[in-house]
C-alpha cells in the first residue's frame, strides 16, 4: 500500500533542492535565509517523525524566527523574459495547456480508478489519503509531460518551482502553523469557553433568535478559529443540539448541514483560513494581502443571511 510517507519523502527532496538552489542564488541578498527556511521544511518532511516532539517544536520556532526577522528574500532564478514567453506561446500554441491539464486528469484518474484498486486484499493507495497521493502522482507525471512536450531544461522544474515558492514565501507555511495552533486551542479548551460565553449571555427563547445565533455563531467562531471544522462541534453542542434540535424539534440534517455551510461563509472572511485567502493573494502577486478576502465578503455576508433564512424555513417544516 502506498502511504502518505511516500509523498513526504518526495516533498522533502523537492524542498531540499529548493534550499540548495537558494543557497547558490547570488541574485538574492537573503539567499541564506531562504536556504535555511526551505531547508527546515525539507527536514520536517524527511525526518519529522524522528525529531521528537520537542525537536519539531524547535524546528517551528526556527521557521517563525526566520520569517519574523525578515530574513526571507525572493530568489531570482534565470527564467524566460516576457518577450521570449510571448514567442514561445506563439510557437507551442494550445500544446501549452496539456501539462497543466494533466494534473486534473491524473487526480481524477487516481480518485476514481486507482482508489478502489486492491492487490491481494490490500488497497493500492491508502484510502484515507487517496486524494493527496493522486495529487503527488499527478505532479510527477505532469512534470514529465511538460519537460518532454515543451523541451524545457531538466533543472527547470526545480528552479521554476523555487521561483513560485519564493513568491508565496513564508505564507506557504502559515496554513500548517494555523492547523497546529488549532490543536493547541483544542488542548486548552478555547472552543468550550467561547461556546459557554455565547450560550450564557444570549437568551434563546425564540426560535428565530436561536437560529440566528447558531448561524452567525458558526461564521464568527470559524473566523476566529480559521476553520469551520473546529467551530462545528462547539457551536452544535452549545446551541444546535440542545436548543434547535431538542427544544424546538429542528431536523438534525438541516441544522447540521446549513450550520456547517454558515461556517464556510466565515471561512471566506478570515485571514486565518490562510490557504484559501492569503496564499492565493501571494501566488497572484497582489500587493494587498487581504485582496481575496475583500473580494469574497460581499458574497459571504448575504449568503450567511440566506443560510439563516433557509435553516429557519427548512428545519422546522
Amino acid at each position: 500500500m502506498i502511504k502518505l510517507s511516500a509523498v513526504y519523502v518526495l516533498a522533502g527532496l523537492v524542498f531540499a533542492a529548493f534550499a540548495v538552489l537558494s543557497a547558490l542564488d547570488r541574485n538574492n541578498r537573503k539567499r541564506l535565509g531562504n536556504a535555511a527556511f526551505w531547508g527546515l521544511v525539507a527536514l520536517s518532511f524527511l525526518a519529522g517523525d524522528h525529531l521528537g516532539n520537542l525537536g519539531n517544536g524547535i524546528l517551528v520556532l526556527g521557521l517563525a524566527g526566520i520569517a519574523g526577522l525578515g530574513l526571507l528574500g525572493r530568489g531570482a532564478p534565470a527564467t524566460t523574459s516576457a518577450e521570449e514567453r510571448r514567442a514561445l506561446a506563439e510557437r507551442f500554441g494550445e500544446k501549452l495547456f496539456i501539462p497543466a491539464l494533466t494534473l486534473p486528469v491524473v487526480v481524477a484518474f487516481g480518485v476514481l480508478v486507482l482508489k478502489p484498486v486492491t492487490i491481494g486484499g490490500t488497497p493500492l493507495l491508502d484510502p484515507k489519503q487517496a486524494t493527496l497521493l493522486s495529487l503527488a502522482l499527478a505532479a510527477v507525471i505532469a512534470v514529465g509531460v511538460g519537460l518532454i512536450l515543451l523541451r524545457q531544461p531538466l533543472i527547470s522544474p526545480l528552479q521554476e518551482g523555487r521561483r513560485l515558492m519564493d513568491t508565496v514565501g513564508w505564507a506557504a507555511l502559515l496554513p500548517q502553523m494555523l492547523a497546529a495552533l488549532g490543536a493547541i486551542f483544542a488542548l486548552a479548551g478555547v472552543g468550550e469557553v467561547i461556546g459557554e460565553l455565547v450560550t450564557t449571555w444570549i437568551p434563546m427563547d425564540a426560535r428565530l433568535t436561536a437560529v440566528t445565533v447558531y448561524c452567525l455563531g458558526m461564521a464568527g467562531f470559524t473566523m476566529i478559529m480559521g476553520n469551520a471544522f473546529a467551530a462545528f462541534p462547539v457551536m452544535t453542542a452549545g446551541i444546535g443540539l440542545p436548543i434547535l434540535i431538542h427544544k424546538f424539534g429542528g431536523d438534525p440534517a438541516v441544522v447540521a448541514s446549513i450550520g456547517m455551510l454558515s461556517g464556510f461563509c466565515g471561512t471566506l472572511m478570515t485571514p486565518l483560513a490562510a490557504n484559501f485567502n492569503l496564499v492565493p493573494a501571494a501566488l497572484l502577486e497582489l500587493p494587498d494581502r487581504h485582496a481575496v478576502i475583500k473580494a469574497q465578503i460581499p458574497t459571504a455576508l448575504p449568503l450567511l443571511i440566506a443560510n439563516t433564512v433557509l435553516m429557519y424555513v427548512l428545519a422546522f417544516r
Binding site: P104, G161, Q176, L181, A188, V193, Q296
Partner: protein, 222 residues
C-alpha cells in the same frame, strides 16, 4: 477566561500586521501558558501538531510543473486564447468557471483545480485577457481586482459544491458528531440539504460577477 488571551493575540497580531508565523507562535505560547502548560510542554505539543499536519503543505508539489509551463509561455497563451473569443466577457467566463468548480466538487473532485494549479496559470490570465480584449491595456488596479475575483470564485465554487459530495470530510465530521450525540443520520441527507445553499451561492456570486464586469467596463470608459 484566560484561555482566550491566545485568541486575542491572534486578532491583535494580524491587525497590526506582525509577521503571521510569529503571531501564531506567540499565540500558541500564550494559550499554552494560560492553560497551565510549561513552555517546554507547549513547545512539544506545538511541534507534534505541526508534524501531524504536514499533509497541508504537501500540496505545493504542483508548483514545479506550473513553473515549467509558465516558463514556456502558458499565461501568455491563456490570455491570447480568450482574447480571440471576442464575445466572452469576464463576467460570463468566471460564471462558467464557478459552475465547473461547484459541479466537479459536488462529484468529489475537489483537488482537480485550485489556486496554484488552475487560477495562477490559466484562469486568472484568461480573465485578464477577457477584460483586455474589451478595454485594452489593464491598469494595475483592474488587474489586481480581476485576479482577486478569480481566486474568490474558486473558493466559493469549492466551498459550496464540496458539501454535496457524501464522502467529504465535513460530512463525515457531522455524521460522527451527531452519532456521538445519539442521532443516527444517513450522510445522503446532509448532502441533499447542502443543495439549497449551493444554489443561492451560485446565484449570488454570479450576480456579483455580472456587476463586476459592468464596473470594469464603466471604469475603462470613464
Amino acid at each position: 477566561m484566560l484561555t482566550l488571551l491566545g485568541v486575542a493575540t491572534v486578532v491583535v497580531g494580524f491587525a497590526v500586521r506582525l509577521n503571521p508565523l510569529l503571531v501564531v507562535t506567540i499565540a500558541a505560547f500564550v494559550t499554552g501558558l494560560a492553560a497551565g502548560l510549561s513552555p517546554v510542554e507547549m513547545l512539544e505539543a506545538f511541534g507534534k501538531a505541526f508534524n501531524e499536519n504536514r499533509f497541508v503543505s504537501a500540496a505545493y508539489l504542483v508548483l514545479p510543473v506550473i513553473g515549467v509551463v509558465e516558463r514556456a509561455g502558458l499565461q501568455e497563451r491563456a490570455r491570447a486564447l480568450i482574447a480571440r473569443f471576442k464575445g466572452v466577457s469576464v463576467g460570463p467566463f468566471l460564471i462558467g468557471y464557478l459552475a465547473f468548480r461547484q459541479i466537479t466538487s459536488a462529484l468529489g473532485l475537489t483537488s482537480i483545480a485550485g489556486h496554484a494549479q488552475s487560477i495562477r496559470p490559466m484562469v486568472a490570465p484568461m480573465a485578464e485577457g477577457a477584460v483586455e480584449a474589451r478595454t485594452g491595456e489593464l491598469s494595475d488596479e483592474t488587474r489586481q481586482d480581476t485576479r482577486a475575483m478569480a481566486s474568490a470564485t474558486d473558493n466559493i465554487g469549492l466551498f459550496f459544491g464540496e458539501d454535496i459530495f457524501i464522502a467529504i470530510g465535513s460530512i463525515l465530521l457531522m455524521v460522527g458528531f451527531l452519532a456521538a450525540s445519539g442521532i443516527v443520520i444517513d450522510p445522503i441527507h446532509l448532502s441533499l440539504w447542502a443543495i439549497p445553499t449551493a444554489i443561492v451561492a451560485f446565484v449570488l456570486h454570479a450576480g456579483r460577477l455580472i456587476l463586476f464586469d459592468r464596473r470594469l467596463r464603466r471604469r475603462a470608459g470613464a
